[in-house]
């Protein structure tokens, strides 16, 4: 009985790791950072903000940079884009390009 308990506990721990480990890759910085954008740019196609699901990576980077430096006018993205570093903009663009 004692042995089987230890075995069982070991299995339970392994199983938990197995169950969660494959998901860990998705909870990386780019993925989490981008979820902030989903509040307005819904990935459920609700609302009237541009749909960025699968948006071309380089285009998203260039548009964010244009909002950030003021060369593209906007109502609110020109204010928000200034809050992200160049590295963060690339992470966001990479993530939007990969989601379906």
């Amino acid at each position: 009985m004692k042995r089987s308990r230890i075995l069982a506990a070991g299995i339970a721990v392994s199983m938990m790791t197995m169950a969660l480990a494959p998901q860990a890759a998705e909870v990386e910085r780019g993925a989490v950072l981008t979820t902030s954008c989903f509040a307005c740019h819904s990935i459920d196609t609700t609302g009237n903000m541009p749909n960025l699901v699968g948006y071309p990576r380089d285009l998203l980077v260039s548009q964010m940079q244009a909002f950030k430096d003021g060369s593209r006018p906007g109502t609110i993205m020109n204010r928000l884009a200034k809050g992200y570093s160049d590295e963060e903009i690339v992470l966001i663009a990479d993530h939007f390009a990969t989601i379906q």
Partner: protein, 432 residues
């Protein structure tokens, strides 16, 4: 654990199914059907809680997520001012939990939590059931401090609505406004800082003015404030003058806006030691606020009114294992808004998913966007981006801010279109 992940596990470790099931039978009380994925209980199905439940499943599909919310239909506080102004109906601000269950695999329980035991990691509900959690996400919104001003109690809200939690209170205030004669006075007592939705009282005044202008143009709106300034003040006051002339009067603390007592029977407020009174035809008293009752009761606010958290994970500084998000939390520079709650929920969900996978939390980045309607075609906004800095969420310097003061009508109209788009987008992100 789901069948899918059990199969995966068996394949990975390559041992006999029978032996494993026998092993599980010993390890798990209740047998092999009990989940071995972690169980996260989310309390409160508003903007914070519903988002947390959805994103926990998104980040960790094998996790068991239970959302406990007393209402089958939730009315968002944002948008409720549009109902007061006759610009939207209650159905337009109603949200349900169908998609969370059917699309995202969240177990939704219609019940209310009456007790949380942080040491045993259990919650008890009004229906008498009890459940254990590995992690708890608490998003209970706000509660009211009716003891702050003498002469008015929680019971008076049936006659003097706060309408600061949407639903029956919104309907009540709308009916009172409809019943008010032309030439009447609508008095709103705005809450002291910090409170849910900082621009909310001023959008409310705008929407009520929009209604009065059409239906009872000789009426008056008085905002009594214990503050000397308020969110988007310049933009609101310019918009009021442009669209409503002198219909709206804002009375700051220094000019008698600090209400010291309410004569509830006579719908009258008293300030300046009794020297200043305002008699209302419709009185909207919005009390000072605290963290939601269940958070207060669990001791999560300590000696204060709001719950301190580690702002990197939103885990309580008082009770480990409980993440407090949304209006109830102390979140640095982030305002108490549905948008903030939505973003904080994602931070907490990611932190919980990573921790259960043995990973360190990420340094969070969040945003807040808040649109306010001055008329259905004239909106203004405030936006900010926040990062974790020196132990708190702080606004990124140089980013964010309010709509430009000199914007043409076309920009105000564009922002009004985006106001509706924002509502549809964020409610889809939360409940869709």
């Amino acid at each position: 654990m789901t069948n899918f992940s059990r199969r995966n596990f068996l394949k990975t470790v390559g041992i006999g199914g029978a032996a494993t099931v026998a092993g599980l039978g010993c390890a798990v009380p209740g047998g092999a059907s009990s989940a071995r994925g972690a169980h996260v209980v989310v309390v409160g199905g508003g903007s914070g809680g519903a988002t947390a439940a959805k994103y926990l499943k998104r980040f960790s599909p094998d996790m068991d997520v239970t959302l406990i919310e007393p209402n089958a239909t939730y009315h968002t506080c944002y948008g409720s001012n549009w109902v007061l102004g006759g610009h939207a109906q209650m159905d337009d601000i109603a949200q349900t939990y169908d998609a969370l269950q059917s699309r995202h695999g969240v177990k939704v329980v219609q019940d209310s939590v009456t007790e949380i035991d942080p040491a045993r990691r259990t919650v008890k509900t009004a229906s008498g059931s009890s459940m254990t959690y590995d992690r708890l996400v608490l998003s209970p919104g706000i509660d009211f401090r009716y003891d702050a001003v003498p002469g008015i109690t929680a019971e008076d809200a049936e006659r003097i609505p706060h309408a600061w939690k949407a639903g029956a209170q919104t309907v009540l205030l709308r009916r009172q406004l409809e019943a008010m004669p032309d030439g009447g006075v609508f008095v709103m007592v705005a809450p002291g800082n910090p409170f849910r939705c900082p621009p909310g009282p001023y959008e409310r005044a705008s929407m009520v003015a929009h209604y009065f202008k059409q239906a009872k143009p000789r009426s008056k709106i008085i905002i009594l404030d214990n503050k000397e300034n308020f969110s988007k003040q310049g933009l609101f006051m310019a918009g009021w003058e442009q669209h409503y002339g002198d219909m709206i009067e804002w009375v700051p603390s220094s000019r008698g806006g600090q209400v010291e007592e309410v004569d509830a029977a006579n719908l009258t407020t008293i300030s300046d030691g009794g020297f200043t009174t305002f008699k209302a035809d419709v009185l909207n008293y919005i009390p000072p606020q605290t963290a939601g009752a269940i958070a207060m009761q669990t001791g999560l606010a300590g000696d204060g009114f709001w719950c301190p958290v580690n702002q990197m994970t939103f885990e309580s500084s008082i009770h480990p294992g409980i993440h407090v998000i949304g209006d109830s939390s102390v979140a640095g520079a982030m305002p108490k808004s549905g948008h903030s709650a939505n973003n904080q929920a994602k931070v907490a969900a990611a932190a919980i998913s990573r921790e259960l996978a043995g990973l360190e939390p990420l340094s969070p980045s969040t945003a807040n966007t808040c649109y306010s309607l001055i008329t259905p075609d004239h909106a203004i906004s405030v936006a900010a981006v926040y990062t974790y800095k020196d132990g708190a969420m702080a606004g990124v310097a140089g980013a964010g801010g309010v709509s430009p003061a000199d914007a043409p009508a076309s920009v105000r109209q564009m922002e009004a279109i985006y106001t509706k788009g924002w509502y549809d987008g964020i409610t889809g992100d939360i409940w869709g």
